[in-house]
Each structure stands twice: as C-alpha cells, then as structure tokens.
Amino acid sequence: MKYEAKLENVTVLGAAGKMGSGILFLTAAEMTRQKFLPENKNRDFTLYALDTSNRALSGLISYIREQAWRFAEKNIVALRKTYHDRADLIDNEHIIRQYAQDLLSIIRPVTRMESAFDSNIIFEAVSENPDLKVQLMSTINKNNPNKPWFFTNTSAIPISWLDEQAGLNGRIMGVHFYNPPAVQKLLEVVKTENTRPELSYFVAEYIKNLKKIYVPSYDVAGFIGNGYFMRDILFAERMVNELKENFSYVQAVYMVNKITQDFLIRPMGIFQLVDYVGIDVVQFIMSVMKPYAIKENIHSTLIENHINNIVKGGQYPDGRQKDGIFKYEKGQITAVYDPDKKRYFNVSEFSNECDEYLGELPEGWQTWRKINRDSEKDEKLKKYFENLRLSKKPGAQLAMEYLRKFREIASELVKNKVAFKFDDVNAVLLHGFHHAYGPVNDYI
C-alpha cells in the first residue's frame, strides 16, 4: 500500500497528552498536505484522536486549532499557492482560517477504542507503562483486519519486547518524538530485527515530510536520549553526595544545578531538567531501563526520595512548571526541596556561600542563548573551555569533571551498541536536548 493510502486512516492513542497532542497535530498537518495534492483529491483522510475523557479532548481541539493557525502563519507563502483557486480567499487571514478549518475537519476526537479498529496506522503515545501499551496494542491488533502498523513514542521500553508481548509480528517501530513534538526537530527511530522494512520506508517519508530529522538507535532500553539523560542524572547525584561532605544537601543540589547550567552552558541545569520532564517520569524510565542494565545500577535514591514525598515536578497543562526538586516563581528557581526535612529552603539563604565556593565563571563565558546565536560559536566555546580548564576554582574543576563524564557516557553508548556512532549521540544532545555542543568535542 502506498504512503498516502496508509495515511488515509490513522489513530493516535493518548491524543490528549502532551506528546500525543503534538503527534496528532503533526500527523494532521501531513494528512492535510496530502489531501491538497491533486493525485489525492478522491481520497478521504481520517485521523482519530483517541483518549480516555471528553474533557481532555475538548482542550485538545483548542490546542490543535492554535497550532494550525501558527503553522499556517509560518507557511503562508506556500499556502497562498495551495488555495490559489479559491477566489473567496484573498487575505492571508482568510487563508490561515481556512487552513485551520481544513486541518480540523480531518480529526475525529473519540473515547472508544473501536475507532482504531479501522486504522492503517496507530501512533501510540500513552504513558510509559509497558503493560498498558501492550494491552492497547494487542487489543487493536486482534480486532483490526487491516494488520495495522504501530509506531510507539516510548522513550525507554525495548520495541522488540512490545512486539513480542502484543503479538505484532514485526509491525512495530519506535518513533520517539522530543517534547514538544510540534516544535522539536529531532526524532529517535528504533527498528528491531523483526521490524518489517515497509514500516521504515513509511517513517522515513513521514519524517521527511514533517521537515524533521531523525537519529537511528539500537533497540536498547532508554535508547540514546534517555540512555544519556539517566546517566547524566546519576552522575549529578554522585556529585551531590560528594559535595554533601562539606555542604548541606540543598546547597549541593543548588551547586550541581549551577555547574551544569552555567559552567557547562546548557539551556537548564540537570535538576531543573528533571523537574521539566517530571520526577515521576524519570523514575519510571529508570525502572524500565534497570533490568536491562547489567553492569550498572540505574536507580536514583535522590529521585526516589522525592517521589516518596509526593514531590513530582512536571508541568501544568498551560506549560507552567510545577514545583519539584526546585520551587519556581515566574520560571525562576527560588527554593530547593530537602526530602529528609520535607520542606523547601530558599535559595537566597544559602546561594552566596555556594557561589563564592564555586568561584566566578571563567572569562569568555556567555549565556546558552547568546552563544547559540553567535556566528563564532565554536571558536568562542573553545576559548571558554580552555579558560575553564586552566581555572583552579572548584566550580570550574567540577565542570571539567562533568565534561569528561559527558564524553565517557557518549563513548559507552557507542561501545555498548545503544548508538550507532558518536555523531548520533551528538545529534541527540544538540537537537533533542538543545545543548550548545555535543559530548564528543574538541574542547577537552
């Protein structure tokens, strides 16, 4: 079956979730694009947005409408050509409104799983619960006569395990979007030995049409992104424990976060990133990866201590950050949670002492945002890291230790056949995590 024929009937499972809604929008945009092609004028495209509650689905439609407007605004040059034959659509605004209507007309918000029984393609984006994923996919597979293809958004669970448990006979592939899917350029793509080649062809075309890029990963729990991220967290925790010998726990957390954000010029510190993703999500990913990691213990006591106190981080539906390892006010970190004392401590009470200990940022330092916009980024990073290396200040030395670990984790991912090559690890960190530089670099 041709690519466009496969796209005629698609279901997104977990469509109202943060990942599902983004995948739904991108797929709707691609189906709308197909619908406009002259050769597809007799085809009908249907996209089921399947989730558990009508309430969530009603919010979903508002989100999709907003995304469709944004997309149309950005692509207005092409859309004026698409709608050129419509004499009634004159202004950009007319065209943008019509595009949003056309895109929304493809989507059917539903709560009954039977809707997926006619689909050719199933995008699965429910929570990272292996049993739930298996149950949903196997039920659809048994009741759908089309032998549907399953594309799972899991960022941790081995695809071959899902294939086997759900009885899909190679009709599954990992297509892991980064959060938020509508914005992030990168996808991780995972095939198993049994994945049918036609799924790969479809995914390659789908990603190309979305104007995104992908990195292939071996089918190893956590893949490249979480394979890196979880070990990054574990190393940060180790550094916290070392600093605790001379500082309080909250001071140590504050300092490691500062080292990773400021000294290493990242978009956010490691513990802020954990809050952004959700502490519970991180714990879940670690628990999925743990049984597959034979030589190391993928388990974080720091994460567990927060979960035990029901401190979970994550985000509100409007994108605001919930409190987690840190408390936030207007997006800024204001306090650090101590799981032993079960309360937050204001950063202003101890930050001076910590900052003094870490020392000043070396010469040549720029914010992550500024360095990314700098046309001489590589040269400036080289100079900065040279100054970081020469500095005797504790902050700089800890940052250097982190940089070395950064590279070691990347090497292990390639050595242990999680990533195919160093460039792929760099690509995930650059485009998925938006680091200013990859872990395999010339700076150390």
Partner: protein, 404 residues
C-alpha cells in the same frame, strides 16, 4: 518649518519592545509628538490649524476620525480646524504638503502636523494584508503573501536581470550597513541598539523564497514600527507669533507632488518614474540642482528602492545607482549623506509618520540639532531634499528645504 519632534520608533530591535506586553497606544504617540511640538512654539494658542497624517489606523487600531485627537493633545486645540490625510506610506509627506498649502493660501500662519502609525497591534503576516491596501485591492489575490516585499522583490529581480545581481546585492548590503550605522547615532531609532558586528555579511544572507520573497531578505526591508513625528509649519507671521528665531527654522523652497495610476503596473520595473518627476518638480520650484544639496532623506522602504531612488533623483544614471552607493557617496562622510538617522530601514517606518520624520531629521540637521548624528552642512550647500513614496511609486511628495 520649526519645532520638530520624533517619538521612539518602537518595534523589534528596541529593548523596551515586547510583543506580549502592553505598549503605548495610538493616542499616546499622538499626544507625545503633539505636546512636544507645542511646548516649543509657545503652546496650542498659537496654532491655527492641525493636520494628522495616518495611513490606516482604522484597521491596525480599529480607530478612525483621528483629527479629533488634536483636542486630546491639548484642550486649547478644541474647535480648531483639523484634518486627517492619507496616501499610504506617503501619508506624512501629504500631511506636510497640506500644511504648506494652508500657509501658502494664507488660511493659517501656524499649522501643527503630526504623523502617526501603530502597527505592532497585529502579527506581520496580518499586517501584510493591511499594508496591501496601499496597492490596488484587485491585485491582492494574485499578490504575494508579503505583498509589498513581493512587489519590490519583483523589481529587484528585474533590476538584477538588467544590470547584474552581484554588484546590486553588494550595494543593497552597503545601504543596509549605512542605515544601521546611522541609526546607532540616533537614540529614537528602532535600530539604535543594534550591535551586530558584521552588518554587510548579514545583509548578504541569501533570500529564502519558501519563507519570504524571491529576491529580498529581511535585512533588505524596513521593519514594522510604531511611532509619531510632529512639526510646525509656519509663515513669517507665524514664526514671530511663536517667538522663534529664523536660525531655528528651515525654509520650504520647493514642493513636488506626483501621482500614478493605482491600477497600473509600472511602465518600467527598474525605474521609479513618479519619484523622478516629483523630485524634478521640487528642485525646479526651488531653483536649484543636486550640487546645492547637503543631505537627502529618501524613502528606503527596501534597499532596492533606495538604489532606484538614487537613480530617480538624478544622482546616478540608470543602472549606476549601485556604483554610487558602493563608492561611498551616500554614507555620512560621502558626497551627499543620505538618511542620516537611519532612514526607514534604520530609524523605522511608522508609515503615517515617515514623511514627517524625514522633515524633522532635515530640520535637526540644518539647524545643528542632530546631536551624535549631526553632519557638516557646508555654507555653499544649505539645501536638503526629502522624498516620501506611497505604494509602489504611486503617491509621491518631494520637498526641498533651505537653512534660514
């Protein structure tokens, strides 16, 4: 003319600007410009008439009947005759022309002219729909999403075809560089804080037809701006009434206006024929030639428009405008400094205000008030020229000024 004033040209590039935060409204800009002119001329009591120049607040701000904002500037303007004029991006020039004609007709001795536009009320993609009203509405459907950049991109394509792309693009980049460097000297300019290092390299960025237009990049275009400019046009009698000395005034010695059929395409896409005619009329009325000019404010809505304007004004032969710019003649140290506070690309382009802003800049230069952006005005060349263009070379106002 006396007592000029420019508000900040607000928009992207200014640190005060944030699209999601509240900003001054139309009436705030009008009031700021109006009050500052009045404070220099002894107050509203001295004003006989008022002219407000605004292109299209009815769509950007859902506001019409703008002449009735004059009493809002100062209650002493209540019941005075006021008028609103419009001619697309030449609106400001038409405002000046209207004031000049009132003085010449002796119906007034002091005319307050305020030009204003607040355009950041909508995203640029919708602003393009609004600005397209400066063209013929029947062309909108087949026009580019970015209607006017599309028009001047077509002109640039024709110019490249006829005179060569490489040199022309270099001249466009040089024009952009001069504009930003001049704007950095003027605190009210939208690009005042621009700290980009390699401007010329940036300006040579290849156009991206998939996202914008075929032959222009964003640096070739003036930005979306909010702002107002005000000035007083006075007779000799009015000058005395305001208590202002002649040395603080500039004299209007030439006015050229010209109009082209809105429903017609340009006769020759590589020439600005209406600009050519308006400038000739203004210079003829002033009785001078180019050699007498100390500075020029030209309508560089796009860098390619600047090259064509240089030719249309007679500073270079057709096809040689690029050479004139690349040889440095239009820079502030050049033979004839153009757009000394940045022009539309550097200072900004709040459409209804632009023509008035040009007059204010010239008033500042000829009366030695231009601060950091002051250029030398040679005694032998006490004249200046402004050219304000509406639409695609459709509505033109050109004025020649003289140091008193």
């Amino acid at each position: 003319m006396i007592a000029g004033y420019n508000t900040i040209s607000m928009g992207t590039g200014r640190s005060e600007f944030h699209p999601k935060k509240p900003r001054p409204g139309l009436e705030d800009y009008i009031k700021e410009a109006g009050e500052n002119v009045l404070s220099q001329i002894g107050g509203a009591k001295n004003v006989d008439e008022c002219v407000i120049a605004n292109f299209i607040a009815s769509r950007y701000n859902k506001q019409a009947n703008l002449a009735a904002f004059f009493p809002y500037i100062d209650p002493n303007l209540t019941y005075k005759p006021c008028i609103r004029v419009e001619g697309a991006c030449a609106t400001g020039g038409l405002g000046l022309a209207t004031g000049i004609k009132s003085i010449l007709a002796e119906t007034a001795d002091v005319v307050l002219v305020v030009g204003v536009e607040v355009q950041n009320s909508v995203k640029a993609v919708y602003g393009a729909d609004i600005l397209a009203a400066a063209g013929w509405y029947k062309e909108r459907k087949d026009g580019h999403a970015h209607f006017f950049p599309g028009k001047f991109s077509d002109r640039a394509g024709a110019y490249f075809e006829k005179y060569g792309r490489g040199k022309t693009r270099k001249a466009m980049a040089r024009w952009y560089t001069n504009a930003i460097e001049n704007a950095r000297l003027c605190p009210t300019a939208q690009e005042f804080e621009n700290s980009q290092k390699n401007l010329e390299q940036l300006a040579l960025t290849e156009p991206n037809p998939n996202m914008f237009v075929d032959h222009l990049n964003v640096y070739d275009c003036s930005k979306v701006s909010d702002g107002a400019s005000g000035i007083a046009i006075v007779s000799e009698e009015g000058l005395k009434r305001c208590g202002i000395s002649k040395k603080d005034a500039i004299e209007v010695v030439g006015l050229g206006q010209a109009e082209y059929d809105l429903t017609k395409a340009p006769d020759d896409p590589v020439r600005l024929t209406t600009t050519d005619l308006a400038v000739k009329k203004a210079l003829e009325m002033a009785g001078i030639n180019h050699q007498k000019l100390a500075t020029v404010e030209c309508h560089d809505c796009f860098t390619i428009a600047a090259i064509m304007a240089v030719e249309a004004m007679g500073f270079a032969k057709p096809g040689e405008g690029s050479d004139f710019i690349l040889e440095g003649h239009t820079s502030r140290e050049g033979k004839i400094p153009f757009n000394t506070t940045g022009g539309l690309i550097g200072w900004g382009h709040p459409t209804g205000a632009t023509g008035v802003h040009q007059a204010v800049t010239i008033w500042e230069q000829l009366t030695q008030r231009a601060g950091q952006s002051q250029i030398k005005i040679p005694t032998a060349r006490p004249y200046a020229l402004s050219v304000n263009m509406g639409g695609d070379d459709k509505t033109l106002v050109s004025i020649v000024y003289k140091k008193c």
